[in-house]
Every structure is written in structure tokens, then in C-alpha cells.
Symmetry: C2
Subunit: 374 residues, 2 copies
């Protein structure tokens, strides 16, 4: 992969849009009619009436700032002016947003701060506000009355970094009771400027798996989510990204830990790796460098494989490539068709109406999981 492409993906995955990255300041639309059916969202702080979202996908929020001169809602790389009432309460709305999950913040007299009304998520290199725009398929990650797996927070020993990195490990429903059963494992990576919390929090990975398993659409398997920026690259430094430090942590430290602490089927046929954006690049590199470790490969919104890059077709069970319809779906589809022509089992998925954001990746996991270990 070219370094320029890599940097571009890094920019996009950090929550910075193309326009922002290129120094273009989008202009706020004015006088747009607003549908007055706003409701609080599932990612509000407990009891907080704001932020709210309406049926158009607009975000409205409020903050009391009696002495402030200017307050803005900053979402999707656009800053929307909010309006003050006589009590010092500021209210403002965004333009309609794509369905799914978006990071946002407030700007109060020049200070960029989280909206205290929202829950906080790690993305764009920091914990900050997030908002959920309802989608017609949000049911895939709803908390339902079905058996729920557990998400284990573990600290595993890492000699190469001399630290105890954190990982979140999903075990499927029944794992505790069926104590003679062993399970395949998916290693699932976040994007640039995200971390190990991103997939279980805004990605809803555990709930997607619970629901798929309850519907009989996915085989029960373990999902392992850890921090992928081992060399702690700073923004822009991704140009010089070296896969080795993370590859060592993942393959030589985390996998042995998981195989010794969980009831895994510890072979190549029962091991998958997938990632979003930067995580897809890591997945491509690591599955290429260590073909004896993984057999299923998922690349969400980022890297794609060319047939000649697949060293040994016989060891690859599946290459799954996806992106949002607002990314570059033609490139993803074409790449998959070429892989198929070369005799490699490959599949593509395009998330309708979404861009380089978490709803694309939730849907990608939802699709990919149904193809695994079958």
C-alpha cells in the first residue's frame, strides 16, 4: 500500500473528514426547515434530556453557558452556531447526519469540549461525545432478551513492550456452562486513533454476536479486541507505521495468552483476523506475514488484497472486504471479483448510506461473522 493512501485512510479513520483534512471549511446551511420530533438518544448520560435526534437525523443539543459569547455544535466537520435564550441556555441543531454513530463536541468561546449531556467514546484520539442516529437495522445491536455472552477485561503479559496491555474478550453464551466445548477465535482490530474500547463500546461487537448466535446465523466463537497502536504513533506519524511491534504483541503474546486462558480451538483453521481502516491494514500485513496463524480475513473500509498478494491460496479460507456506500465501493467490489477469478474465496459487502464510520463497521462485522468457521 502506498504511503499516501495510508495517510489518507489514517486521516479518515481519525474522524477528520476529507474537507477538514484538506483545510476546507464547510459552510453552515441556514434557513433549513426542521422537523420537530426530537428525542433523547440511547447514548445520553443517565437522565440527561439532551442531546436529541429527530427523524431527519439532525442532532440538537443544549448547554447552559450564561456568560458565553458564542457556542457551537461541532459534528461531521461542520460547526453549527447555537442560540442563547434569556436564561443563558444555548440550543442548536446540525444538518441531517448519516445513520449510525458519530463523534462530536461543543465549542464554547473557542474551547473544544465534550457535550456533558452525552456518554463518552474513544475515537479521534480521545474520549469525547458520541451520538447515535437511528437506522432501520439498529436491531442488529439492540439489547434483547436472549442469552448474553460475557466481555472479559483482561491484562495480559507482554514482554516485548514490558507492559500489561488490556484486551476485551467476548465469550459466547453458554461458554461457562458447556465446559468441554472449545471455540474458534476472531481477532478484531479498531482503527487509527481508536482503542480496545471502540469495538465493544460504539462497535457493539458483543451485542451483534449475541443476536446473531440467538438467531442461529453465526457459529458461537470468541472475539478478542486489543489495542493496535503498539508503537504509539502520533497523528501523521502513520506514514512510518511499522507493523512489527503490534504483530509481536498480537501473534506472539496475546494469542498464546488467549489459547492458554480460554477454551479455544488453537489452530489456523479456527482463527480469523479482521479490522477496520488502519486495523484492516494491520490485518492485511499480519495475515500476509504470518499465513500459518489465520485462515479467515476481514478488511473493513481500508486495505484490499490483490490476487498476487495472496502467497498461498490453499491456506486462505475467506477474504471479506467491505466499506460504506459513501466510501469507494467500486474499488472494494472490483478487488473481490479479481480475487474470485484467481480462485480465492472472497466476498464483498457495501453498507448503504454510510461513510467511514462505525455503523459501516458494525454492519461489516454482522455480515462477516455469518461467514466464519463454517
Amino acid at each position: 500500500m502506498k504511503k499516501s493512501t495510508l495517510f489518507l485512510i489514517a486521516l479518515m479513520s481519525s474522524g477528520v473528514t476529507m474537507a477538514q483534512g484538506l483545510g476546507v471549511t464547510p459552510v453552515q446551511k441556514i434557513n433549513t426547515p426542521i422537523v420537530e420530533d426530537f428525542k433523547p438518544t440511547p447514548v445520553n448520560q443517565p437522565g440527561s434530556p439532551f442531546p436529541q435526534v429527530n427523524s431527519e437525523g439532525r442532532v440538537r443539543t443544549q448547554i447552559l453557558a450564561p456568560e458565553a459569547k458564542k457556542v457551537q455544535l461541532d459534528i461531521g466537520a461542520v460547526k453549527y452556531d447555537m442560540v442563547k435564550d434569556e436564561k443563558g441556555m444555548w440550543t442548536g441543531e446540525s444538518a441531517p447526519q448519516d445513520v449510525g454513530f458519530h463523534y462530536y463536541q461543543l465549542n464554547i468561546d473557542g474551547a473544544s469540549v465534550p457535550d456533558p449531556g452525552s456518554l463518552f467514546f474513544f475515537g479521534a484520539c480521545r474520549w469525547g461525545s458520541g451520538i447515535e442516529i437511528p437506522s432501520n437495522d439498529q436491531d442488529i445491536f439492540a439489547v434483547k432478551d436472549v442469552p448474553h455472552g460475557h466481555v472479559h477485561e483482561v491484562l495480559f503479559p507482554s514482554k516485548s513492550t514490558n507492559t500489561s496491555p488490556k484486551a476485551f474478550i467476548y465469550t459466547p453464551p453458554g461458554y461457562e456452562k458447556e465446559t468441554s466445548k472449545r471455540y474458534p477465535v476472531l481477532y478484531l482490530q479498531h482503527g487509527y486513533c481508536e482503542n480496545e474500547y471502540s469495538w465493544p463500546n460504539q462497535g457493539r461487537a458483543n451485542l451483534i454476536m449475541d443476536n446473531l448466535i440467538a438467531e442461529g446465523k453465526a457459529k458461537p466463537f470468541i472475539v478478542v479486541m486489543t489495542y493496535g497502536m503498539t508503537n504509539e504513533i502520533s497523528f501523521g506519524g502513520l506514514r512510518n507505521f511499522d507493523i512489527k511491534p503490534f504483530q509481536t504483541v498480537l501473534v506472539d503474546e496475546l494469542i498464546p495468552y488467549v489459547d492458554s486462558h480460554f477454551r479455544t480451538i488453537a489452530d489456523q483453521k479456527n482463527r480469523a483476523m479482521a479490522g477496520l481502516s488502519m486495523g484492516s491494514m494491520e490485518t492485511k500485513s499480519i495475515t500476509t506475514n504470518r499465513p500459518e496463524v489465520f485462515s479467515y480475513i476481514g478488511l473493513f473500509s481500508g486495505a484490499t488484497f490483490k490476487p498476487e498478494e495472496v502467497k498461498d491460496k490453499s491456506t486462505v479460507k475467506l477474504i471479506f472486504q467491505s466499506c460504506g456506500s459513501k466510501e469507494r465501493p467500486d474499488g472494494v467490489k472490483q478487488s473481490v471479483e479479481e480475487l474470485k477469478k484467481a480462485g480465492i474465496n472472497a466476498a464483498w459487502y457495501v453498507s448503504e448510506g454510510t461513510a467511514h464510520e462505525f455503523h459501516t463497521w458494525r454492519r461489516s462485522l454482522h455480515q462477516f461473522a455469518q461467514l466464519l468457521f463454517k
Copy 2:
């Protein structure tokens, strides 16, 4: 317990100090000399240089707010004015704080917002900024190169509330490998306006247990932490707090779930309950109402037992009562001495130099855990 006492404890446990609760506005000290040895803290956002703490326990933070007229650091119920430089960067310091963990926020032209430089913790009824003031015993919850237990995030079925509440369940190191071993269980409750995240996050319960077990000071046991405000009382509503809804969730729904999904020793002798502040009141009520369920009782910074309130001495293995030296240690000690005179095994602990805050409760857990199931 009298309703007035109950309301006072609710106030204190919500992060509101006595002075604030009673409408007294503390005055900021000026012209205090400041020791210039500030360092970033372990609870900063990744890569964030601020907030910082110095050897006196002062908190210093910074925020860029070029257009703001007034920015304050709001900690310990005092608002400290920050000072703007020519680039619009505001900097300010607090007076020295007690060792341990404190919630805080910024005030920008009248808006109370989290400090974007800190990690966020649930307390005072919302996710907001927290700061860690170094203590000479912070080693008790340090991440060390010792075997680490797992913290399982589970969703358990609750018919009484028709929801799937969350619980965090700590399993000690070795739990996965020693598959024939069964473990005692401690049910550990947060305070008013905290939630199930408070003990594992700012309470560091899992790390305290990891370290005690590695030193051979505590028997390995399971710790279960869930949300204790089942009836979703609003602030002030604690006057009418009814223990029944939470008692049903804990005793009739969560305990059976834990006993069927984890390798517990499912009897009264091997079950403990403890809680901080409002959680201590819940612990007192539930262990009194259901004496057949728990044998070890821990009350941190809140309720105390009178001998005549212990229905059947023979079923109580230990009553542990604690608080900070800046709370009401004499009352706690006297109550324990009375219990002892009545032939009940009781112990007190006073956390030196701390008030109604999480360092008191970390230390209390550290002490209590060493007495359990022996």
C-alpha cells in the same frame, strides 16, 4: 436509620461537600506559594499533558478558550479562577487536595463541562472528569507484573425490572485454568449517584484483589459489582428509598445467575456483601432482611450496626465498618466496640487523611478483603 442521616449521606456520597450542601460558598485562598513540580497524572487522556498534580496535591490544568471571559477549575466544591495568556490558553491551580481520587470539572463562561484532558468516571450522577492525587499507598492498586484476574462484563436477566442489567464480575487469577476449583463471592456496591463502573474504574477493585492475592494476603474470591439504584431515585429522592426493588435484583436474580454461570461456593458461609455510603445502607438492609444469604458484612463510610440490630449472631461471621479520618471515625469505632462487647466478630478501619471519597473505599476494600472467608 433516620431519614435525615440518610439524606446527609446521600449528599456526601454524591460528591457534594457539606459546605456546598448547606449553601456555604468556600472562599478561594490567594497568594499561596506553589511548588513547581507538577506532573501529568495516570488518569489523563492518552498523550494529554494536562491535568497535572504537584507534590502538595494541587491540581493544575489548562484549556484553550481564546474567546472566553472567565474560566474556572471546579474541584472539592471550590471554583479556582484560571488565568489566560496571550494565545488564549487558560491555566489554573487548586489548593492542595486530599490524597486519592476526586471528581472535578471546568467552568467556561458559566458552562460546567468535563476537562477534555482527563479520563471520565461515573460519579455525582454523571460521567465527568476525575483526578488522582498520589498517595503513599497507591501501590495497593498499581498494575504490577503479577497474575491478573479477569473482569467479566455480563448482562443478566432481571424479570422484576424487565431489563438486562449490567454487572462486572471479577474472577481471580487462575480461575480459567483451575477448572475444578470453586470460589467464595463478595457482592460489592457503589454509592449514591455512582454505578457499576465505579468500583472497577476509580475503585480499582480488580487491581487491589490481584495484588492482595499475589502477596498471599487475601484468599482468591469472586467480586460482583452491579448497579444498586434499581428504583432510579432522583437526587433528593433517597429520603424515600425502598430497598426491596434492588434486594430482589441482587438476591433473587443476580445471585442465582452468578451461582449458575460461575464456579462459586453457593452457600451463606462463602458469601459476603459490602458497600460504600448508600451501598453500606443497602448492605445493612439486605444482610438484615436476608440473613440466610450473607455471612460477612462490610460497611464503608455510611451505615453502622447496633448490637440489637443483629438478629442472629451465630450467622454473622464478621461485621467490618470503616470511614475516612475526615468523616466520623469515633462513631465507627464506638459502634464496633459495642458489637464486640455483644459477642459479635467486628472490626473497624479508619483511612488516614481522607474524607468521603474513593481512596477511603479502596483502602477499606484492601483491609476487608484480607479478613474474608478465612
